[in-house]
Amino acid sequence: MSGPALLSVEGVAVDLPTARGNLRAVDQVDLHLAAGQTLGIVGESGCGKTMLSRAILQLLPKQANLSGRVMFDGQNLARCSAEALRKLRARSLAVVFQDPMTSLNPVLTIGTQLTETLQEHLELDAPAAKRRSAELLAAVGIPAPEQRLSQYPHQLSGGMRQRVAIAIALSCEPKLLIADEPTTALDVTIQAQILDLLAREQKRRHMAMMIITHDLGVVAGRTDEVAVMYAGRVVERAPTQALFKQMHMPYTEALLAAIPKLETAPHTPLPAISGRPPDPTRPLKGCSFSPRCRYAAGRCASEKPSLAPAETSTHHYACFHPIRLATGART
């Protein structure tokens, strides 16, 4: 990672007590993100990526237990008081969620939701806040911004609502923006626009960004580094280009292979991953992916591989039988 880490997740684990026993949603995750960089977190449902984002934002459910450190701008967020956290939010830490219909308040106008944030955190007076809100809406590409200020969320389309959510998130010039599946609920043409908008704004503001998604296509070309999660752990982490050039963890490779590609001829059977992700309340002793992995052998069922670097120190993977390692496999 270039530059000092703005966000440093160190040994974070999230445990949730459930009726069926303890659920380890996030298991010893380490991540670093420098200012101006984009980190993509990729994983399927149940891999713990959403819980991880909640852990970073300190928005976990009451009964969850967080261990480890979340260092943001030199402070450990897990140890911050509620008041300190409140000040950090919006000004330094911003979030965009998946479903703009539920992340925007349906009974308040767009203008109110924007000016509310501005007045609260930047202490602008009402007319200044209104001007700035219109500017923000224009910056995110919403036509006729002054008129939109008095409209309600349900009067806008899904793509427009997500733009408003992004405008609210960016309004106080945060240092870090976490986008949790920001385009999953949107159509593919709108998705491209929203992702490009995020990339543009990030470049302009030299902001750090974390994109959480299940779609490998979304992170390619739009992130600097990618971390792949499976069953609560990071199983591979590398600069984006390096990852796509050569994947070492069989899960990442299998995930990429399972996506239907436009180049493939129709009716070609897809290389699907057999089986299902493990039950988080019954963690496996060995590698969580081993029951589904075609390279699994020996230690895989009894020992958990830890995330360790390959020959280049920036590409980490957690596997005993990595794929195509130039200097020979770790055994």
């Binding site: 949730l16 009726a19 959403t50 089986g275 299902r276």
Partner: protein
Amino acid sequence: MATLDLAIEEDVVAAPVRSKRRLGPLFWTALGWIALVFAVAIFADALPLPSPTDMDMLGRRAPFSAMHWLGTDGLGRDELARLVHGARISLIVGLCAPVIGLTLGGALGMLAGYFRGRFETLVVGGMDVLLAFPPLILALAVTAYLGQSILNLTCILGVLGIPAFMRVARAATLTLARREFVIAAQALGTSHARILCRELLPNVMLPLLAFFLLAVAVIIVAEGALSFLGLGVPPPISSWGSMIGEGRESLEVAPRLAFLPAGAMFLTVLSFNLVGDTLRALTDPRQGAL
């Protein structure tokens, strides 16, 4: 590769996650009280109590004694025996009247929510008309016209409860009827009757039953109020409500005559409320997602 190794070991498949923590001691106490009331009501005649209609004119308003555990009322009748027989009335009316609401209101609500359109407007409008009648006046009118009896009382209270059940059933049906499993049944060519009975009813039943228990509580109080006013069960049958009414005259001398039936009614209504509330909370389909 189409085969899925179904990695479901027998014990791993989740049993429905019932939050046992909600069935606390309060729930069991409430259930216990209801069971007690049921038991004494059913076996009232077998209990070693004096008859509730035996009047002992010399021992009126007698205090607690070995012969009369809870004393006697204004006409010398055994208080405990009257309470026990009163329980019968409260339970009979309290259970039968909501059944009328449940069946008729539930059916109307489901049909309205499923078929929509003009039928729904008719049903909802009809219920609004019914609700517009002041219930007490309606009860008065019925008893004046048809006379006082347990049957009439049960019927009038039952009919008054139909709109509430209709609303619950209609709300539940509206959300369910749009879900894909109903459309899947329609795509099979399933008849409407079968869809209503096999697909919708099992899902609507639970919120209706939870509401039923709450309605029982309300009806017991309503019956008590009507009997208190003298519009409920005709004498010499006594219900808790009429006992409170009679106890009103003896409030300075023997307040227990009013408070004992009131206390019994309070505990019973509270218990039904607790049990109904707990069941409603349990049947909320909340599968926690991570």
